[in-house]
């Protein structure tokens, strides 16, 4: 996947959802979004922003405050966050920026925007317990090396839990992400 193109930045400012910030601030992790006064500590400390031309945590927070719901949720840039939590630890307003971004990602998923990598990881977890499917060769190698067998996953019980929270439904992408 590529970074968002310049067209996104040139898009007309269209406030689609003025109450977005109130909705967001009710979700655990994003309670303090209104406290952001746009100082830019998050962006200046962000390791990804150093190399990305488009990923700017401050901008994501501002767009959310403004109510640019579609632009925020559709944007691929949201997914560039490495969850290193530097922004969260350094925010002078204690906004917990990385958690707000996680809340936005979760909402984006609900709207049908799921980067393919997460479907692969989720299917591994639900089928085997492990996010990466451990190759047979590795399991044999463990034996040869005298390592204990890997603990088994419990797909039946994970399936029950997943069903209770409608997890599988989340992974069916419904919409195209913006470039």
């Amino acid at each position: 996947m590529l970074e968002a193109t310049k067209t996104e930045q040139k898009a007309v400012l269209k406030i689609t959802y003025p109450k977005f910030k109130y909705e967001i601030s009710k979700i655990p992790g994003a309670e303090k979004i209104m406290l952001c006064f746009q100082c830019g500590t998050c962006t200046s400390d962000c390791p990804v922003a150093r190399f990305s031309g488009v990923y700017r945590p401050r901008q994501i927070i501002r767009m959310t405050q403004l109510g640019l719901k579609e632009r925020v949720l559709k944007s691929e840039t949201l997914w560039l966050c490495a969850s290193c939590f530097t922004c969260t630890d350094n925010c002078p307003q204690d906004v917990k920026v990385a958690d707000v971004i996680r809340v936005l990602k979760n909402l984006a998923v609900k709207e049908g925007y799921v980067p393919p990598v997460f479907k692969v990881l989720a299917s591994g977890i639900l089928d085997t317990g492990y996010a990466y499917r451990i190759p047979e060769m590795r399991i044999k190698k463990r034996e040869e090396l005298g390592l204990p067998p890997l603990p088994k996953g419990n797909p039946q019980s994970l399936a029950k839990l997943a069903e209770r929270i409608d997890f599988k439904k989340l992974l069916e992408a419904k919409s195209e992400q913006n470039g």
Binding site: M1, Y130, K160, R164
Partner: protein, 295 residues
């Protein structure tokens, strides 16, 4: 548990059995030497971290399941991967402190006859070494000083951040891993942006930024003259070690910095052989470094 006996469930996570077994092998060897007992989890699922961007609720449930399974045997968890340590520790604290969340999660876990009670702890390998085993005991177990060897460290984000949950070290200026390195006799050098992310978490989304981040760190490490980089995270290790030649090709420059799992370094100091510590699994071979310390 007998007085003074240290015993944990070892939580391997997904990346270590998938690609980074040298970290597991060396950890088991070192812990045996230090008298720490490691037992296998009776059942396992991913800590939940990779699902947090998709569904926070799923992440909490996945973590909580592991915590409950360990609680049933009254065993605390030692995690080798900072992602697992950070996630399990965070959810453990969240569920211990937030009654409403605990009740909600327990309602789901009932399906499995599981219940979160909040009776165990989760620690990363370096927390166990620093807090439970202790630097003095480790120093006393060193058989072969690695004096003369100059290395640099990279912690990995989730062992340090968010500070609210991990909190055992300073995320801006981490000292625990440095102290653990210096116990071996090796010198741990300071360098620019020591605590900066390796980039691994964005690898599934973008193919350039993670390599740019790792390259910058390797450059900073090379600039201070470190002979090796010491890691405590399977993902950071994959970025700096497995991907090092790819980074060299991409940016047309040479690093040749062996990237060693901390328990491999400690193991050498405890008198274990390079073979026992699976040092041969490294792509960037620490041949010169081993020669220097007489191996």
């Amino acid at each position: 548990m007998a007085e003074g006996e240290l015993k944990y469930f070892i939580f391997l996570g997904c990346a270590i059995p998938y690609r980074v077994s040298a970290y597991e092998i060396s950890t088991r060897k070192v812990m045996e030497k230090l008298g720490v007992k490691l037992e296998e989890m009776p059942e396992f699922n991913c800590c939940g971290l990779p699902m947090d961007p998709v569904s926070h609720e799923m992440m909490v449930l996945l973590a909580a399941r592991n915590l409950c399974i360990a609680e049933e045997k009254n065993m605390s968890i030692i995690a080798l991967c900072p992602g697992c340590a950070g996630t399990l520790n965070k959810v453990n604290i969240m569920l211990k402190n937030d009654k409403k969340l605990r009740e909600e999660i327990n309602e789901y876990l009932k399906l499995d006859d599981l219940e979160f009670k909040g009776t165990i702890e989760v620690k990363h390998l370096i927390q166990v070494l620093n807090d439970d085993v202790g630097l003095e005991k480790i120093r006393g177990a060193v058989k072969k000083s690695l004096k003369g060897l100059k290395v640099a460290e990279h912690n990995g984000c989730h062992v340090l951040r968010p500070k609210e949950y991990m909190g055992f070290d300073d995320p801006e200026d981490p000292k625990v891993l440095k102290a653990l390195i210096e116990v071996t006799g090796a010198e741990c050098l300071d360098y620019v942006d020591e605590a900066q992310c390796c980039g691994a978490p964005t690898a599934g989304i973008n193919d350039k930024i993670p390599l740019q981040l790792s390259r910058e760190k390797l450059t900073n490490i090379r600039d201070v003259g470190a002979q090796a980089l010491i890691t405590i995270c399977p993902f950071c290790h994959m970025m700096f070690e497995t991907n090092q030649m790819r980074i060299e090709r991409m940016f047309n420059e040479k690093f040749g910095i062996p990237t060693i799992h901390y328990p491999q370094l400690l193991g050498l100091a405890l008198g274990l052989s390079p073979e026992e510590l699976a040092l041969d699994e490294l792509r960037v071979k620490p041949t010169e470094q081993l020669k220097q310390i007489g191996m």
